[in-house]
């Protein structure tokens, strides 16, 4: 599966930064993704998200819907065929449950932490860590640093106790 073409990290980073610039320069919007999940919850009937900036469908939802298209294009231009897979590489499978449903439960929990956390923090990796740090916005720099702290804690714990 991971015969995907991968650029060197700094090259990929420059690419990501250029997308942030492109979005600002053409549309004036600050790149971010997690609010799109709020728009979906609003459309599904969660009242909190039916007001203000979350009352969808807005631009963030469409931006988010474009992401899978980009992922598919990335596969198809890597010279490999597009095949659905449960593969997770080598590291996570060494600590996560082998059964798909047990592993899925762990991923649902991880996702739920991401969902709650992103709303409490007011953004996720794209809005805070990339766009926010590019804006040199102090709350975003703090958020970005704390994302890392959380990630280090959970992954180190996983590999310490289960690895």
């Amino acid at each position: 599966m991971d015969n995907l073409i991968t650029w060197a990290g700094w090259v990929g980073g420059i690419g990501v930064g250029l997308v942030v610039i492109l979005l600002f320069l053409t549309t004036g919007k600050a790149l971010g993704v997690s609010s799109a999940y709020g728009e979906v919850c609003g459309m599904a009937g969660q009242p909190v998200y039916q007001r203000g900036s979350f009352s969808g469908p807005k631009w963030r939802l469409f931006f988010a819907l474009g992401l899978p298209i980009g992922g598919a294009i990335a596969v198809l231009t890597s010279g490999i065929s597009w095949v659905p897979t449960w593969d997770m590489g080598t590291l996570y499978p060494s600590v996560l449950p082998a059964s798909i449903w047990a592993r899925g439960a762990v991923l649902v929990c991880g996702g739920a932490l991401i969902g709650v956390g992103a709303r409490m923090a007011g953004g996720c990796q794209s809005g805070h860590a990339i766009t926010g740090m590019a804006l040199l916005n102090p709350p975003s720099v703090l958020a970005g640093g704390l994302f890392f702290v959380g990630g280090i804690v959970s992954v180190q714990a996983l590999f310490q106790f289960l690895g």
């Binding site: 995907l4 930064g17 909190v48 590489g89 991923l107 709650v116 794209s126 590999f159």
Partner: protein, 161 residues
Amino acid sequence: MRTTAAQIDDAPASDAPDMTPLHPALFLPFGAIFGFVLSRAGATTYDYYAGLFLFSDLQLLWVIAAGAATGAVGIAVMKTRKARALLTGETISFVGKPFQRQLIPGSLLLGLGWGLAGACPGTVLAMLGEGKLNALFTIAGILLGTWLYGLFDRSAGANGR
């Protein structure tokens, strides 16, 4: 450079309602470009997430650092030139997200989930597009978490913009 300045001067003087709002569907191709770049950057590969937090492979640290740095340079240039968004003609606002009360615990929770699921709200959607089916669980989880937050949000802000 002269041309740019002239264009800026010629732009309508009012910041006003004559600007047509962009159709939301216009953002689909921008998302596709972002998804493609995230994949090429390795941000859709689970091993890079584990490697980042185990300090064994810093691919994604470089992506984030170079991404923020590149963005910072571009934003500095656009700020100095008081750039207007090409599709709307409006002066671009570079105001960052405000500090909010739950930012610190929220960021820590998000980080825990980031490590546990090996994905972010954006990259997991690109992973799905690549055919990585585990992304379905994570996406369901993010929707669940966002929904649960909504149950407890009393300020009606739903925190974000």
